[in-house]
Symmetry: C2
Subunit: 305 residues, 2 copies
């Protein structure tokens, strides 16, 4: 069977693309190992997706999932795409044991947490070092923990952890935190959170488990004993396997035009994996809608070679 | 008092802009005579706003309204802006009896139904001719009605009216209907809806009320007796009062860049009033978020002259 559209990724962009594709009767397959995407890892309630004043990520992801599941002509496959090529105006996508074909593709697989390659980061991974405070935070009840990063994800993680951990240290390299005012305000009001700017983390130390973190602020080197270090330094999109088909920017994001088209005809991208500046749930969803409408228009004049 | 941000319009774009502005602690005023905007006039359930599988426009608008009402630093004013000028790097906005000042403005007032200037259209307005089938449709129970237009709004109106009216006639000038496949499929399955393409409406006739419509298909002139004609021919944004401050395209939409900035510094626009190609609720909301984040960035370096 040849699909009209294969969507890679089941986050807000992929799900919205599937909804719009279904409304236009496109036979659609969506690859996702985790419908809802990164929403499941959100540390605090989502309060900026219009229509839901305050909802936890898990619940919002479930609403998205239910919306996807009522769509006609949409098949959900819980596999990961490892290879993609275009031949005779058809795309062929390989997972670990199967091949699928489609007239068009929307890549909407988001991005994965960025690693910082700190000394000790790899060594203590899973033994105190982690990338998902929501997943692993509860293991550190009444312990001291650090967060490396100063954006919204870092601050939201700190807010989440403030009810679990004893003391929380936030380390940011730059002069200012990038988190929004509301998140910064909340953190400043918390007696058990201490923040550091202009600070380089030097090493995560331990024996079997993390025991301390050393860092340098201005010219002063310090060390704090703690049990966990969460890296919250943004995200890197997983785009290597696509590099023959798309142009990537310096952040390895897929460069798209205003219709979400890539340099390969029939191949579109949407959401956080693209070079769109604003990484927000509502924006990712919107880009998914635009991509699906572009696919629909593209297919009106489609001819197989 | 000088606001950080004034938002003109309380539809999906304006509300989302206000939510994002509030999160960044901007003192915000939003002008809206009708929070929720055109959602209140949606003829059928909204099924493509991700997270709500199927919800009527009134309910979705109320969810948006509730989300807006819990925001801090946001004042809602139910007045219409009639004039706007910029002096000393401040914007001054006039309503019928008051003046307000702000460092930045986001115009998100959407658009109003487009008039076709058909013969009889003005004459019978409110006496059979209308632009809002949801508002006026119930007056025509078991009567015959026409819809002029062939896009989603026209088809969704026909779906709504199919349970009310006796027979429904849809007239489209072009060769094809522009409504999406799902809407076209639903209409085709309805025995009491008749569709015409390549058809020009010549005149809406009547005495005190609408009595008939005459039209030309190919070279054939026909006339059908009916009681109402709903014009559903798209929307025109209300942008005349802004024309000194922004560039407009041929559709009178405000031309914005990828940050939703207009040609006037500090003046942004979002939603259906802009030249963004895709007019969808989720897209309008997304553009509101982007505009508010641009305002925030702009204010970081703001100086009053």
């Amino acid at each position: 069977m040849i699909f009209d559209l294969i969507i890679i990724g089941g986050g807000p962009a992929g799900i919205t693309a599937a909804i719009y594709a279904s409304r236009n009767n496109l036979n659609t397959l969506i690859f996702s190992e985790n419908i809802g995407g990164m929403l499941f890892n959100k540390a605090v309630n989502v309060e900026n997706y219009t229509g839901f004043p305050s909802i936890n990520g898990f619940e919002l992801a479930n609403n998205f999932k239910k919306h996807l599941e009522v769509q006609e002509h949409v098949e959900i496959v819980e596999e990961q795409v490892e290879e993609i090529k275009k031949e005779n105006n058809l795309f062929h996508l390989k997972t670990y044991n199967k091949e699928y074909s489609s007239r068009t593709v929307i890549v909407a697989s988001g991005s994965k947490p960025r690693e910082l390659n700190l000394k000790g980061e790899k060594e203590f991974l899973g033994r105190g070092v982690g990338y998902c405070p929501v997943c692993d935070g509860p293991l550190f009840k009444n312990k001291d923990v650090a967060i490396v990063g100063g954006g919204n994800a870092a601050f939201e993680s700190a807010i989440f952890l403030s009810n679990i951990a004893k003391n929380i240290y936030i380390f940011e390299r730059g002069e200012h935190f990038l988190a929004d005012g509301k998140n910064q305000g909340r953190i400043m009001a918390m007696p058990n959170v201490k923040t550091y700017t202009k600070t380089d983390v030097l090493e995560i130390k331990g024996d079997k488990f993390v025991k301390s973190i050393s860092f340098k602020q201005e010219d002063k080197i310090m060390e704090i004993e703690l049990s966990a270090v969460f890296i919250q330094a943004g995200y890197t999109p997983k785009t290597e396997y696509l590099k023959d088909l798309v142009d990537l920017n310096e952040r390895k994001e897929i460069i798209v035009d205003e219709n979400m088209a890539t340099k390969t005809e029939g191949l579109f991208a949407a959401g956080d994996i693209t070079n769109s500046k604003v990484k927000q749930i509502i924006v990712a969803a919107s880009l998914g809608a635009i991509a699906a409408l572009s696919v629909y228009n593209y297919l009106l004049n489609y001819e197989q070679n």
